[in-house]
Amino acid sequence: MLRILSVLFVSLFILTACGKKKTGPDDGTQQPGAGSVTTPGGDSSPQPISMDPFEDPANPLSKRIIYFDYDSSQVHAEDIPIVNAHAKYLADNTGARVRLEGHADERGSREYNVALSERRALSVKRLMAFQGTRADQADIVAYGEERPVEFGHNEAAWSQNRRVEIIYESK
C-alpha cells in the first residue's frame, strides 16, 4: 500500500513539476540539465551516469520551494512529500545543512510579516524533524515581505511570494 502511495506521489511530482511555473531559488545552484558523472575510483568497469537528484525533475529533491495560503503557516498536504524528501536526505547525510528562508506577501505590516514568515519556516522545520532531520541541520531566516520573487500587487504575485525556500548550504 505504502509503495503504491509513494509511486502515486512521485508521479504527482512529475505532473506538478511540469505544470507549475518554474521559480528557481536564488542561490544560483540550479543549472538546468546538469548531470553528475560518478568517477570510477580505481575500478575500471563502466559506471552509470546518474542525474543529480537535486536537478532531476522526477525527484522531489529538485523542488525546493513550499508555497502557503494567505496568513497561514500550514504546509499543504501535497507539499508534505517534498519536505519529507529533503528531511530524509538531511537525516541520511548528517553533514548536509539547509537554510529555510521564510517569506510573506506584501500585505499588512513589515515586521509582522517577518514573524509570519518565521512561522512558515518553523512549520517546515518541524515536519523535517519528524523524518529525523537534526535541529542544527536547518537554520531559519525570516525575510518577511523584503525579498519578493514577483513584484505585482495582486494574488498571482502574492501566491508566489508566500513561500519557504529550502536552500542547501552544504550537501
Partner: protein, 429 residues
C-alpha cells in the same frame, strides 16, 4: 573659442538646480487654509545665495495644508518691505498674514537671514528673527523660519526643520540593493547612510536624532544595529538566533525595545544599550512584535495575534499582563505614538484593504485617514500634525503624508526606486 566653451560649461554646471531626491505632490488640501503672503526676500551681498529662502518657506507652509501662500500677482503692494508696507492694504484684501525678510551676505559664503511676520488685522509684528547661516545651512535656516511662523500663528511648534529616514530598494547592475537614506522633511538633501545587497528594515531615529536603529540581514541572518548618522559608526545590538527586529528607542535613549524569537517564538524584549542585556517583556505563544514606547517611558504598545488576528496591545515597561487596545477591523498593526501620547496611528486592515488609521487613546475611537490598498509604516511628525507612511502609486512604493485629521494628503516620489518605511525624526533644535 575653447575658453569660451569651457566658460559656458561651468556656467551650465553651476546654474543647474539642486534637484530634490523626493518630489512632493499635494494630492488633497484643506479648504480653510489661511491666506499668507511671503514677500520675496531682499538679497544683498556680492553673490546670489544658493537658495531662495522665501520660496522654501512658501513651499513649507503650503505643504502643511494649514496655509495658502499667495502668488506675487495677488499682492496689493509690489516689492513690499518692512519699511514700505502698508498693512491696511493687505487687511483690505483679506490677507491676514504677511512675511517680509532679507538675506544678507556678510562675508562670502556666510549669510544673515532676517524675517518679520505681521498680522494685518491686529497691525502688529507676531515674530521677528535673524538666523545666521552658511551656504550649506541656508535651507535649514529657511525651515527654522517656517517653524517660527507656523508656531507664531497656530501656537503649535512647526516640524519643518526635521528629517525623515527611509529605505529605498531597486536594481543596480542587475543586483537588488537596499539603501537606507535620510532627507530633510521636504525631501531635499537626501543622503545614503547605508547600502546593502541584503534587506534593510525598520529605521528608527534615536530621541536625540543622532543615531538610527535598524534591521539588517547581512550574512543571511537578521540583526539589530545602531548607526551614528554623522560618523557612520555602527554597533551590533543583537544578532541572536531567530528574529532580531522592530527596534524602538526608549524616550531616554538608553534602551531599545525589540522583537526576538530565540526562545521559540517572537516576543518583546528590552535591550539595555550599555550592557546589551535583554530582558523579556512578553511571554506568549503568539506573535508579539512592533513595539513602540509611550512618551512617558512607562508602557509599550505592540502588535500581537494572540486573539487569532493581529491587534494592538499595551504592556507596562516593567512587564506584566497586556491590555488589548483595538477591536475594530480584522488587522491592526505597526503602531506609532504621537509625542503627547494621545494618539496611536497604525496599519488597519479590513476586507483585504490596508490603510492608516488613528486611535484616540482618550475616547478609544478609531478613524481611518487614508484610502490606499497597501498603506503601511506610519510615523508621526514630532509635533503630531502629520503622519508619514508608505503607499503604492502606479504600482510603485512611494511615501505619503497625511494630516492627523485626514484633511491634507501629499505624496513624495523618489526618482527611480521604491521608497518604504519612513521614520520621522524629532525636533532638530
Amino acid at each position: 573659442m575653447r575658453l569660451i566653451k569651457f566658460g559656458i560649461l561651468i556656467l551650465l554646471v553651476t546654474s543647474l538646480p539642486v534637484h530634490a531626491a523626493l518630489e512632493i505632490k499635494i494630492t488633497q488640501g484643506v479648504g480653510n487654509a489661511m491666506p499668507i503672503a511671503i514677500a520675496p526676500f531682499v538679497v544683498t551681498g556680492s553673490k546670489k545665495p544658493p537658495q531662495v529662502v522665501d520660496e522654501i518657506i512658501k513651499a513649507d507652509l503650503k505643504r502643511s495644508g494649514r496655509f495658502k501662500p499667495l502668488e506675487k500677482s495677488e499682492f496689493p503692494q509690489r516689492d513690499v518691505t518692512a519699511e514700505n508696507m502698508r498693512l491696511r492694504l493687505w487687511r483690505e484684501k483679506g490677507i491676514d498674514y504677511l512675511v517680509v525678510g532679507s538675506v544678507h551676505e556678510e562675508v562670502p559664503g556666510f549669510y544673515k537671514v532676517k524675517f518679520q511676520l505681521f498680522d494685518s488685522g491686529g497691525v502688529k509684528q507676531l515674530a521677528g528673527y535673524t538666523i545666521p547661516a552658511d551656504k550649506s545651512s541656508l535651507r535649514m535656516a529657511a525651515h527654522q523660519a517656517s517653524d517660527l511662523i507656523y508656531e507664531a500663528i497656530l501656537g503649535i511648534r512647526g516640524a519643518f526643520n526635521t528629517r525623515v529616514a527611509y529605505i529605498t530598494s531597486g536594481q543596480r547592475g542587475g543586483k537588488k540593493r537596499y539603501i537606507m537614506q535620510i532627507a530633510d522633511s521636504d525631501g531635499y538633501n537626501a543622503r545614503t547612510i547605508l547600502n546593502s545587497p541584503k534587506p534593510l528594515m525598520s529605521p528608527a531615529w534615536s530621541p536625540d536624532n543622532k543615531k538610527i536603529a535598524f534591521v539588517s540581514f547581512e550574512g543571511n541572518r537578521s540583526g539589530v544595529y545602531v548607526q551614528d548618522v554623522l560618523t557612520g559608526q555602527r554597533t551590533k545590538v543583537s544578532a541572536r538566533k531567530g528574529i532580531n527586529g522592530a527596534p524602538a528607542w526608549s524616550p531616554d535613549g538608553r534602551r531599545l525595545a525589540v522583537t526576538l524569537s530565540n526562545n521559540g517564538n517572537p516576543d518583546i524584549y528590552v535591550i539595555d544599550l550599555g550592557s546589551k542585556k535583554a530582558s523579556r517583556l512578553t511571554r506568549n505563544a503568539a506573535i508579539d512584535t512592533e513595539p513602540v514606547w509611550m512618551p512617558d517611558g512607562q508602557s509599550i504598545i505592540f502588535t500581537s495575534d494572540r486573539s487569532g488576528k493581529p491587534q494592538l496591545y499595551k504592556v507596562s515597561a516593567a512587564g506584566g499582563s497586556a491590555q488589548r487596545l483595538t477591536y475594530e477591523g480584522d488587522y491592526n498593526s505597526a503602531p506609532t505614538v504621537s509625542a503627547d501620547g494621545k494618539k496611536v496611528a497604525m496599519v488597519s486592515g479590513e476586507r483585504g484593504r490596508f490603510r492608516i488609521a488613528v486611535l484616540d487613546m482618550g475616547t478609544g475611537e478609531t478613524r481611518v485617514l487614508t484610502d490606499g490598498r497597501l498603506d503601511e509604516s506610519p510615523s508621526f511628525a514630532p509635533n503630531g500634525s502629520m503622519i508619514i507612511y508608505a503607499t503604492k502609486e502606479g504600482g510603485r512604493s512611494v511615501l505619503a503624508a497625511v494630516s492627523e485629521d485626514g484633511s491634507v494628503r501629499q505624496t513624495l516620489t523618489l526618482k527611480g526606486g521604491e521608497v518604504q518605511e519612513p521614520d520621522w525624526s524629532g525636533f532638530l533644535n
